[in-house]
C-alpha cells in the first residue's frame, strides 16, 4: 500500500462528527471539570459532563471534625463567596443549639454576606462579558472584588478562604478601618457598576451574543431544581432570604429581581440588579447599626462561642469552655437540622445530623453549582460551541462547590 496516497473512506466528511474534550483544564471552563462533546461543524450534537476532579470528600472529613473546624471546609465550597458559606454553617449550628444572636451581629453578618454576593456576581458577570469578547468591563469592575477582599482582611485577616466569624458571632468587632472601607466601597462601587452597565446593557454585540441564547422555561428550571439567579432569570421569585429569612433579612427593604425568558441576558441582568439590591441592603445595615448598642459582636453563649485567647490564658471558665469546644465536647442536642442560605449561586443547604458525639454524625451540603450544572449537557444539544461557552460562564459553576 502506498502511504503517500490519501485515504478515502465511504463516510462523507461533511457527515462526520468531531469529538472535543473541553476541559478538565481548559481556560473556557473557568474551573476543573470536563465535557466531552460531539460536534457537527460548530454545533453540539451531544455532550457528557465529567466532574469530580477536585472532590475532596468534605462530607467524610466533616464526620471527623468538631463543629468549629468545619468552617474552613465550607470556605472551599464556593470560594468566590466564602463568607456566605461560613455563615451558613454557623447559622446551621446556631439553629441546632437554639442560639439567638443580637441584632447588631445579624446586621454585621448581612453586610459581609452581601459583600460576598457582590463579589460573586462581579466574577460571574465580568466573565460573561469576557467570554463574549469584552475585556474592558472585566478589568474595570474586577478591582472592586479586590476592595471587598480588603474589607474581609480587616475583619478576619484572610482574603479568599476567609474562615470568617465563629459559631455565635464574630471573632472580633469590626474596626474603624473596616467601616471606613465599607463606606468607601458604598460610595465608589455604584459609580463603577453604573458605568459597567452602560458598557454592556445596551451593547449591540453583547445583546446579540446573549439574548435568546440558552433559554430555559420556569417549568424546566424547577424540574431540574435550579435555584439562585438562574432560577430567578426564568421568572420564579424564589429567594431564600425572603422565603425563609435568616440573620434578620426580614428587617431589610429590598427587591428580588426576576427575568422573563431565562436566557443568558436575563441572567446577566438579574445578577446586576442583585448587586444594586445588595448595595441597598448594606446601606440599610450601616444605618441600622447606628441604632444598635455598639461593640457587641457575638452572642452571650460562653459554652459555644470560642473565647478570646487572653481569656483562655487568664480565666478559668474560659479555659474550660475553650477546651470543651476544641475537643468537640459541647452539649449539642441530638437532632437533625436543615438550614439553607441564599448563596451566590442559589440555595446553599446544610443538612446536619448530630448524635451527641464530638463530631457531626452526618453533614450533607446542598451545593447549588452541583445541582444547577447537571442541566448543562442536555441544554447544550443543538447549541453553537461558542454559545455553550457563554452559557457555562453564565451558570457561574465554581469547581469547589461542584465537587465538594
Amino acid at each position: 500500500m502506498n502511504h503517500n496516497q490519501p485515504v478515502y473512506t465511504d463516510n462523507d466528511p461533511q457527515e462526520e462528527l468531531v469529538t472535543l474534550n473541553l476541559g478538565p483544564t481548559h481556560p473556557a471552563t473557568h474551573g476543573v471539570f470536563q465535557n466531552v462533546i460531539q460536534l457537527d461543524g460548530e454545533r453540539i450534537v451531544s455532550g457528557v459532563s465529567t466532574i469530580g476532579y477536585i472532590h475532596r470528600a468534605f462530607e467524610k472529613i466533616a464526620e471527623h471534625r468538631p463543629f468549629y473546624q468545619i468552617t474552613p471546609l465550607t470556605d472551599r465550597l464556593n470560594y468566590c463567596s466564602s463568607p456566605i458559606n461560613n455563615m451558613g454553617w454557623h447559622m446551621t449550628v446556631e439553629k441546632l443549639l437554639n442560639i439567638q444572636l443580637p441584632k447588631r451581629v445579624d446586621y454585621l453578618r448581612v453586610i459581609i454576606m452581601e459583600l460576598a454576593r457582590i463579589s460573586d456576581h462581579i466574577i460571574c458577570n465580568t466573565i460573561i462579558a469576557q467570554d463574549t469578547g469584552a475585556t474592558t468591563t472585566f478589568l474595570y469592575l474586577f478591582q472592586f472584588r479586590e476592595h471587598i477582599y480588603e474589607i474581609y482582611e480587616e475583619v478576619c485577616g484572610a482574603r479568599l478562604t476567609t474562615n470568617i466569624g465563629r459559631i455565635g458571632g464574630f471573632e472580633r468587632d469590626f474596626n474603624e478601618i473596616a467601616f471606613a472601607k465599607i463606606n468607601k466601597f458604598l460610595k465608589e462601587f455604584p459609580v463603577a457598576l453604573r458605568e459597567f452597565e452602560s458598557l454592556l446593557n445596551r451593547n449591540r454585540i453583547f445583546i446579540d451574543r446573549t439574548a435568546g441564547v440558552a433559554r430555559v422555561s420556569a417549568e424546566t428550571a424547577l424540574d431540574y431544581s435550579w435555584s439562585g439567579p438562574l432560577l430567578r432569570a426564568t421568572g420564579v421569585d424564589y429567594d431564600v432570604r425572603v422565603s425563609d429569612p435568616y440573620s434578620s433579612y426580614q428587617d431589610f427593604d429590598f427587591e428580588v429581581p426576576v427575568g422573563t425568558s431565562g436566557d443568558i441576558y436575563d441572567r446577566y441582568l438579574v445578577r446586576n440588579e442583585e448587586m444594586w439590591q445588595s448595595v441597598r441592603i448594606i446601606e440599610q445595615a450601616m444605618e441600622k447599626l447606628k441604632h444598635e448598642p455598639p461593640h457587641i459582636f457575638h452572642a452571650d453563649v460562653p459554652e459555644f462561642y470560642l473565647p478570646a485567647k487572653e481569656e483562655v490564658y487568664n480565666n478559668m471558665e474560659a479555659l474550660i469552655y475553650h477546651f470543651k469546644i476544641v475537643m468537640g465536647e459541647i452539649d449539642a442536642p441530638k437532632a437533625e437540622v436543615y438550614h439553607s442560605v441564599e448563596g451566590g449561586n442559589g440555595e446553599l443547604g446544610f443538612y446536619l445530623i448530630n448524635d451527641g458525639g464530638r463530631t457531626p454524625y452526618r453533614l450533607h451540603f446542598r451545593r447549588p453549582s452541583f445541582i444547577n450544572y447537571q442541566m448543562f449537557a442536555p441544554m447544550s444539544k443543538g447549541m453553537l460551541l461558542s454559545d455553550a461557552i457563554i452559557n457555562m460562564s453564565s451558570m457561574n459553576i465554581i469547581a469547589g462547590e461542584l465537587d465538594a
Binding site: H55, E59, H64, L222, Y238, A335, Y338, T359, I371
Partner: protein, 165 residues
Amino acid sequence: MAEDTNHNLIEVLSTRFGDKVTAVSEPYGLLTFETSKDVIVEVLRFLKEDNRFNYLTDITAVHYPEKHQAIAVVYHLHNMVAKVRVRVKVFISEHTPTIPTATVLWNGANWMERETYDLFGVKFEGHPDLRRILNMDELGVHPMLKQYPLEDPNRVDKKDEYFGR
C-alpha cells in the same frame, strides 16, 4: 402557620397511605416522616402533584450501621407557595440497597441520585444513567459508609483516637 400546615399535611398523608407513613416528627419545625420503599415514588408523586411540593431540594443518604435497615435515603422537598419544607426518609437494607428512582418525577434527581449511589452504594432502580459521579470508576467502595475510615488504617503515626475523634 407552619405547625398548622404540617398538621394538615400529615393528616392528608395518613388518610392516603395509612400505616405506610410512620415516625412523624417536627425537628425545628420541619415535618419529617418515614415511609417504605415500595410506596416512595407514590408518596413523592402525591406530595408533588396534589400538595404543591413541586421543588426537589435534595436527595442524600445516611448510614446507621447498627440498625437493621442500615441506610436511610433522605428526600427534602419544598413547597415554595406555602413556604413549607418536608423531609421524607426511607430506610433500606445495607445488603440489598435498592430503591425506585425519583427521576420519573424530577429530572433534577439525576445527579443527586448518582452522588448518593457513588457515596453510599444505593442503587436507584430505573435511573437512566447510574454511574459514579465524584469518585473514579475504579474505586470499588462507597466511601461514605461508616466502615471506611477517613485515614489509611495502616498508618501508625496518625490514629484518630489520639486526637479525640
